[in-house]
Symmetry: none
Subunit: 363 residues, 2 copies
DNA sequence: ATACCCACTGAATCACGAT
DNA sequence: AATCGTGATTCAGTGGGTA
């Protein structure tokens, strides 16, 4: 029944059935752009203008929503099974369906990390002037469960690309138009809801590493596959419509991957190898017996030969002693403590950098 | 059982019970700010070790999603009964609860007109660097039913106050801080989740006429009442906590109604939008993998897909890497770095100008 | 008066690997 | 599975005090 992952391929057929054939805990990210349920829209716009019994009306509506909810729960449950413990899920939708999707996400045990707003630079105006311009769509970003805490998230890379401030939950991006929009020979758009590559690229950059497998259960014309290939990720696409799948295949074949140096995971403090403070003492970058001070020279401590610090009667790690002298529950000793070098204060974190550079340790 | 509307009064007691005593089809707008069911576990500290003052009030604790859903359906059903046929409903929430609220809104037969995003000018950062900054909340705006087409909406006024362009579904507003935030004698905030008046004002300007009755079933410290009075509308407030109700009463008493001629759409606040370098890469103005150089072509760096630069082993923002290659403590990457265009060097600041011009973004 | 510095704050589902 | 030690992590804004 279960088959190996069809890497960089498009699987034709019903999305839920195809998902059932994928192995458990095998993909690193899911990007899903599910249908808005046209059947539901049909049911709700049924010509019944006379003000009939409201209860009947409600029941009819609820029955239609129930069908959409069943479908949503089916594909989301299979997605969750297929996700690695470190994987996350993106789902995009609008107010027509996103509330039902979000409820299902929570009910199935996913743990929502953020909802993200795609603010459209060039939305379709509201022609009749009866509503606000519908200028955004919503993405839900969720981990597999409440206890799935070590998901991939390139916080530092996103921050560095965003004026050195945290990436927010509202993303301003243009619609998919112009060159990027797939057109058929007659100039008609191939898919009605093609998403911009930039949107999916930001999701992939945030939550995957190069080589990771990205599953898109509603592949359409393959935007997720095209972005994955460009960014050095792999993909698995599920699609029901052979015409969309053909268009996607041709599109992805034409994609040129970026240079690996442009897409590799940037080093972060979290991913760099740990250096024991003792190593700095052993290497002579810091001398046993030397005095450490904080940046304001309010507190000081003495370095012992075993890599611990001493203040009065207290002995402990750079972190423990840093916390102690400040009266805090915790402290990052690397950034708190400094030494005097050439008349000015240098943080021991900088010396740790020197040590790393000197030994150029493989991570 | 049913009583006349308690106009411009605060009704003490359980929200659902109080709603049951209000007459059917009697109010013109409902603004609801229900508990979010945050599900917070441990304490959270900032990087400086200070404690985040979290919402840990009893009123926000629910045993399960099912219990929260029951509560949500109960108050929403009564709200729908109380609404005039021309009335609309605003509900505000975050990703913790808004999907469940939206599902209930749809199941009860409301007709969603828009979801609206309140983009916070000054949100609380993500202190652990494990998620995107949670920088927005969501409002659902709904009519009583799909057939309720003649609801109040001041399209023209909003457009006139918005640089003569349609008001979008994303609203950029600061948090409620400073003078506006209610404090007790000891200087502590009276209510943990007081909303900015500007947010509710925009909703009331959009969807009510002067003299209309605005019902707020979770009145708290009465922001809705204060805004209604200021804008020449009337209010009905339901509140469980007598201390909140007292604060609200005093607050509203101090409000001076605006001159009737001034009760129109408020102009929106505008600021120069900050452009992330990533946006230039995403938009294609600069290509991932492209080389940046300084004006004297002494230094160069490669652009990565995530909007960072790479030089040798170093990866960072345009500013950080610019500083690094020059050996300076800081650098304005926008003016330092250039790209080759048509045989001559163009600063990326110029490209940023092109981007701004192209998108003329609403802040 | 003005400028600068520091402390404080906001609806928050906020670490992770070794043992 | 649970515990423990290391050590990673913040933005826009208000307001008070000091130079």
């Amino acid at each position: 029944m279960e088959q190996p992952l069809p890497i960089d391929q498009i699987v034709l057929g019903d999305c839920v059935e195809s998902l059932r054939r994928l192995p458990s805990e095998s993909v690193d990210l899911i990007f899903a752009d599910p249908p808005y349920n046209l059947q539901l829209e049909g049911a709700l716009t049924r010509p019944d203008n006379s003000l009939v019994d409201a209860v009947d009306d409600d029941w009819d509506r609820f029955a239609s929503f129930a069908e959409y909810d069943d479908f949503t729960r089916a594909w989301l449950a299979e997605c969750r099974r297929v996700m690695k413990k470190t994987a996350t899920l993106f789902v995009i939708g609008s107010y027509h369906n996103i509330f039902r999707v979000g409820t299902a996400v929570q009910d199935l045990g996913f743990w929502i990390l953020n909802d993200i707003v795609w603010r459209k630079a060039n939305p379709m105006p509201n022609f009749r002037g009866r509503r606000f311009t519908n200028a955004h769509e919503t993405l839900i970003w969720a981990a597999r469960g409440m206890d799935a805490r070590n998901y991939t998230f390139h916080y530092e890379a996103l921050k560095a690309g965003n004026e050195d401030t945290q990436m927010r939950s509202d993303w301003f991006l243009p619609l998919c138009t112009g060159e990027e929009r797939l057109k058929d020979a007659a100039g008609r758009k191939v898919h009605p809801t093609q998403k911009p590559e930039a949107l999916i690229a930001r999701a992939l950059i945030a939550a995957t590493n190069p080589g990771d497998v990205v599953l898109d259960p509603f592949f359409g014309t393959g935007t997720t596959g095209a972005v994955a290939k460009k960014l050095g990720r792999r993909f698995v696409g599920l699609e029901r419509d052979p015409a969309y799948a053909d268009a996607a295949r041709a599109r992805i074949a034409a994609v040129e991957p970026l240079d690996p140096r442009a897409v590799s995971a940037a080093p972060s403090r979290r991913t760099e190898p740990r250096i024991p403070f003792l190593s700095l003492v052993e290497s002579g970058l810091i001398a046993a017996g030397e005095t450490l001070v904080d940046a304001h020279e309010k507190h000081c401590a003495t370095v012992r030969a075993d890599g611990t610090l001493v203040v009065g009667p207290a002995v402990g790690s750079i972190h423990k002693v840093g916390a102690l002298v400040q009266g805090h529950p915790s402290c990052n000793g690397w950034t708190f403590w400094h030494v005097l070098r050439d008349g000015s204060l240098v943080s021991i974190d900088e010396l740790r950098g020197d040590y790393r550079a000197r030994h150029s340790m493989a991570a």
